[in-house]
Structure formats: C-alpha cells, structure tokens
Symmetry: C2
Subunit: 132 residues, 2 copies
C-alpha cells in the first residue's frame, strides 16, 4: 500500500549515491576499485593521482568514509591492513535506477507536445535566465 513511500525512499537513496559519486577523487577511487578489485588503502592511496597530484592519506581515508556512508564501498580489516571493495551490485543498481528514472520501465515514450510557439519575430536575445 502506498508505494510512493518506498519510491520516496528510493529518491533519498539515489541522492546519497549521487552525492558520494559527485567528487573527482571519489570517482577515481571508484574507478580504481572497479578495475582492480579489492585492495589495500595504502595501495589505493599510492595509485590515487588526481589533479596531477597524489592525494594525502587522511584525505583518502575521509573519502572512503564518504563512500562507505553511501554503501558504495565496503572495508574489512586483516591485521593492520584494511581492504576495500567496490559494491558493484549497488553501483549497478543505482545506474539502473537512473536509467529508469528518465525513460521509464516501458523504455519508449513518443512525447510530442507541440511547441505552442508560433512564428514570433526574431526573438530578441532570449534571456530565460541563462547566464548572469
């Protein structure tokens, strides 16, 4: 009953994921983990070169925390090493939701609401509020 509740939760979930991904460092982390699978924080840190510069260890740790919050990566400790993995299921699930968000599960929408604009004179520099 009231499926909009779960839908609303989905929006919040999707938001969390998108926010977690909306950072260049974190995108790099996701890519590295995605390509190379489980690896140590230190190994990850050594490969993390973002703006031509490598990312400091505390910063990597912080970004990993962000990704963990969104449950995009998981970490497990073994001895003094911490291994992190990308949760591919979750990642793909988010992509799927994003995909369905626009086109809908039906995948086909002809959409053609005739633009009510009739031959108006040369539009005087349409300022819809684009640039300040």
């Amino acid at each position: 009953m009231d499926e909009s509740i779960s839908t609303e939760r989905d929006y919040l979930d999707l938001k969390r994921t998108l926010r977690a991904l909306g950072d260049v460092v974190r995108l790099h982390i996701v890519e590295i983990l995605g390509r190379q699978g489980e690896m140590t924080v230190t190994d990850l840190t050594q490969q993390l070169v973002v703006g031509g510069r490598l990312v400091s260890q505390p910063l990597v740790s912080w970004h990993l925390t962000m990704l963990r919050r969104a449950t995009l990566v998981q970490t497990r400790r073994t001895g003094r090493l911490v291994y992190c993995t990308l949760d591919r299921e979750r990642y793909q699930a988010s992509l799927r939701m994003l995909s369905e968000l626009v086109v809908g599960p039906s995948q086909t929408l002809p959409l053609r609401p005739a633009p009510p604009v009739v031959g108006s004179a040369p539009s005087p520099a349409d300022r819809t509020g684009a640039r300040r």
Copy 2:
C-alpha cells in the same frame, strides 16, 4: 599523447552532472521532464511534490538554474512562458560514462533488470572505521 588530459576533463564533467543530480528535488524534476517532455516552469512547479510538500516557485527556479549549469536541461522563452527540456543525450552520455568507469570500455554492461537483492546486512562486528 597524454590522453589523460581529456580524461581528467571527463572526470570534472561527470562530477558536475552527478552533483546536479544529487538532490531529491532535482531528481524529481529530471523524472518529470524525462517522462513528459518539454513543459512550462509553472506546469513543472505544480507537479513538483517532493516531501509530500510542493516546492516553492523561487526554489524551482533555482534548481533549474543548477540543472542548467550542468547542461542537463535547456530552457527557451516564448512570450512570458519558459519551456524546459531535459537533455537526454547528455543524461545518457553520463550514464554511459558511469557504466564504463567501473567495468572498462570494452564491456559496457547492458544494465540488466535487478536480480533479487541478496540480504547482505552489514555485519555489526566489522569496525574498520564505519561508525564513530
């Protein structure tokens, strides 16, 4: 030579898009525009019910500005009406990039329907630094 330059730009681009999408109101906007195609700001505003509450007009305007910054929506003025459209090309392109980010360009996943989520409850024992 040095293809990482264009790649680095891609990261920034992707970041902009993800940030623009990382908001519940904006996700709703994208969905509505995605399903119903071009529509007026006012029409959009009237359909925008996010937390059970409908979004104020200035706020919708502001969120549209955010989406415009990321070039996810475009607006055109006709008379005193402003029509907005979702740039599906851009949207899909971002999804593609996200998909390729993890698995590599050689094998882009076709975004299959969700397999029944395996109950992977976060074992409360693991304290790698999860919660304070």
